[in-house]
Each structure stands twice: as structure tokens, then as C-alpha cells.
Amino acid sequence: MTQATKYEKPVPLKTLDNHPYWDAADRHELALQKCSDCKGYIHPPGPSCPSCGSPATEWENLGSDISATVYSYITSYRPFLPGFQHDLPTVITVAALDVAPEVKIMANIIGCPAEEVEIGMPLKMTWTDITPDRALPQWTPSRSQN
């Protein structure tokens, strides 16, 4: 392991309730938890459905072709966590999935100058390999993929 490539930012913590999401992310895929009773998506994942309280939940794999729209975003000019001092300003968005707008997924917007980000902007999910065995879902403008 070389110190030069050491990842300084927080690595997503896998837990009892969320690990299928992060396991899928490591494979560059999106998996979402779903309620087996009311059929609503549950994100972030949890021990039961926050809409109806049902403990019966399942996971759905949505694959790697994920599009979304900026619902809200902030631009931070100060690092609040280790590692972010290297990429200021940091843009953080919550984006509404095109296939299920009620699901909002938070990530940075990469590959786009902060001043060009706006609410309603179309995004595609991309994955950044942050350690040898972990990957982080991120958003990038869908136009840059064209």
C-alpha cells in the first residue's frame, strides 16, 4: 500500500441494514431496498419500512445505467471532513431518480464546475474506485456522457 494514494475521506460504513447497497456499489451497480408489503423504496435503507412500518423488506438491483435529476444541492467552500480540503468547492446534491423520483440519492457532482450546477440538471450515476475493494457512487452531468 502506497501512502501517496491513501484515501483520506470517510469510506462508507457497511452495517447490518445497509450492506447490500454498498456491496452493489462495489460492483458498480445500484441496489435499493424495497418494502415487500407497500412496495415503496426505502432509502437510505433501514430495519423496516418507514412508510408502513413493515419489517418485510427485499432488495432490487437497478443495474448500472442510472439517471436522475438534481432536486437540491449545496456548494461548500470549507472542508468539514478529512480529504475534502483537496477538492474545494465541494458540490453535494440530492438527486431524484428518473425511474422513481421519490428516491433521492445524495452524492457529489463530479466532472462539472460548481457554478454550472443547477436544480433540474440531468445526471448519470458513475462509480469511483476509492480503495482496492470499495467503490463510491457519484453523480456526473449526463451531457458529459454524450
Binding site: 470517510p10 469510506v11 437510505p44 437540491s72 444541492y73 468539514f80 453535494i92 433521492k104 457529489n108 436544480i119
Partner: protein, 387 residues
Amino acid sequence: MTTYANQCAIVGVGESERSRNSGTTPLHLALDAARNALRDAGLEARDLDGIMNYSTGGDSCTSHELATYLGSRPKYVKDISGGGSSTELLIADAVALIEAGELETVLIYRAMNGASGHQVGRGYDPDLLQGMLPGGSFVMPYGSASPSQWFGMFAMRHMHETGTTKEHLGHVCVSFYEHAQRNPKAFLHGKPLDMETYLATPDISTPFNIHDCCVELDEANALIVTSAGNAKNCKSRPVYIMGMAPRHTHSHAHYWTQVDEVASDHAAPALYQSAGVKPEDIDVAAIYDCFSWVVLRQLEAYGFAKRGEAGDFVKDGNLKMGGRLPSNTAGGMLSEGYTHGMNNVLELVRQLRHDYKGTDRQVKDCELGICTGWSGPDLAGAMILRN
């Protein structure tokens, strides 16, 4: 169900010194605040049979410790993990216990070395937060660790939907800073703010610059609740609790799915029903102000402005002295200091007692006051007080 109906009153308020570096412990600060509240009420430590406090991440002393060194020997001590709506929630607990006949007189406090110790706005330990916060693993890896970022995300969407501008946020700050210039104990006394300076100040994290964020300090606050019967024998003028409403909504405070509803929207109708009054009856307010935008959203929630019109309501000077709803008249957490909401309650009590009568700090002839607590979009607690 607890019936408030003026059966209990706040009879004492007090605070410690307020600074960036207390050089002492939260216990010392809490003792100073508690002794000042007892002195204000004309009560002795032994008169307290309940002591309660709220804290975050162990940043306070316990009620047990405070009771010990105050020389009080209460029946009941209670410490909760809480935030911006906990003052109101603990007062509700105190009223219920007093009404049930379990307790007579309860002291509630918040003590923290908010500047020299643990400081909320500077972020937390990332691994601790991921485990501690619901949904933390979905927030921390992206650099979002400060309440300014969590609430900013809400604010940006709400501003987009309603046309609320940065200048509207600035009017909240300018109004409260103006109040602070009449309060020699405000941390930003002597540091007035005008719109030009506000707009020229760079953002820390959009849409907030330093003026939009509360001033984190080392400080303790305390207040004393007792029955209306006991209140008549206290030294101070009683301020009665007319109504109260707590509410939980969103499943996640830091990771939300929509901004259309906040807990305050649900607390408001219950609050007015509980007190039997309407928004137009209110003379003076203490509105939770960890960030400027939070004030605007609560003005909408509690019926003082229609959705999207709160910015203009504030721009028109309505939160200033002589306005429709003078608010946070000691300067609020934006310019007096941040004690997790309690300092705004203390000021509301002093206004309703007419402590500032004869000065330009007094809201003339005020009788009814509202106090709104906001732990976040997910948790609210509010109360209505009268003299």
C-alpha cells in the same frame, strides 16, 4: 392528556457568562445559570424537586451532578439526548409531572462549552457520525458533516421553489443583529450588520455565510417551572404556559426525501389549539434560529406568512422592534449566542415580564409570546406563553 391552560408558569430564568473560552467546565457554567435562575425566582436549591437537562454527544454535565453541587436533593433527575426543540419538550414533561402531583418545582438547563469544547458547526468525527446518525453512511462519504450543509440542502430547494432570495436571508440576520445592539450581553453587541456587508460576505456553504449561522459559545442557561399556585409566592412575575405541541415527522434528519413538510407544519395547528389562540394574537416571538433560513421556514409553518412570503415579511421589518412580530429580541442565536434554543426562551420570558420596561428593548405591552423549537425538519416543539 396534559391540559396546559396556565396551570404552570416559568418563574425563574438565568444564564452563566457567555464567551468563546470559558476556561471552566459545563458543570461550573450550569451551576452559575441555576443559581441565577433561583435568585431570579426567589427560591432556594432545596425547593427544587426535579432537575432536567438535554445535551448532545455528552457535551454537558448530568442533572445528578448539578443537583449534587447545587445542594439540591430532588426526587427526580432526567437527562435526555436532545437539540433545538428539547427546551419545550422538557417543559412539557415538567408540566405533566407537576400536574400529576409528582413534582412541584423543576429546573431545566442546557450547559455547553460550545466554542472551546465540542463545536457542532465544525463537523464531527466521521466514523462516529456514520454509526451514530441515521443514514450517516449515505452522507459522510460525500463531505456533508455540518448542520449548515444539512439545512442548506433544504434551504436551497425551498428558495428555488418559492423565489426566496439571499437578500431575504440577510434581512433575518440584519434584524437580529439590530436587536443585539440593544443587548450588552449579546456576543455580537457592538458589531452591527448592514445588508451591504452581509451580501459582500462569502458563503461558507450555500446558501449560508457566517452571518446566517449561529454563534457557538461557551454558556449555560436555566429556567424554573412550577405550579401556578406556587408561582404566586415567587419573587418574579410569573409567565404562564398556555399551550404546547411537540411533533416528529421525517424518518431521517440528515437525509430527507422531500422539503414540502417539516415537523413545525404539524406542530403549529396542535399548538394553537392547545393554547386557544391564533397567530394574529401573538405579540412577541422566540424563533429557533440556528440558521437564518430556518426562521423563514418557521414563519410559514406557524402561520405568520404564507408560503413564499416569509422573506418579504422579514424584509418589511416585521421581526424588528415596532414590527408585526418582534422576534429574538436579545439578538437570537445568530448574534446573542447559541445555547441550543434556551437563550431565546429566556428572552421571551423577560419580554413577557416587561423586564425592559422604560427602555427601547421592551416590546411595548406584550402579553402573548410564541416560542418555536426546531431540532431539524424532523423534530419540532413549540409553546405559547402569557403574562
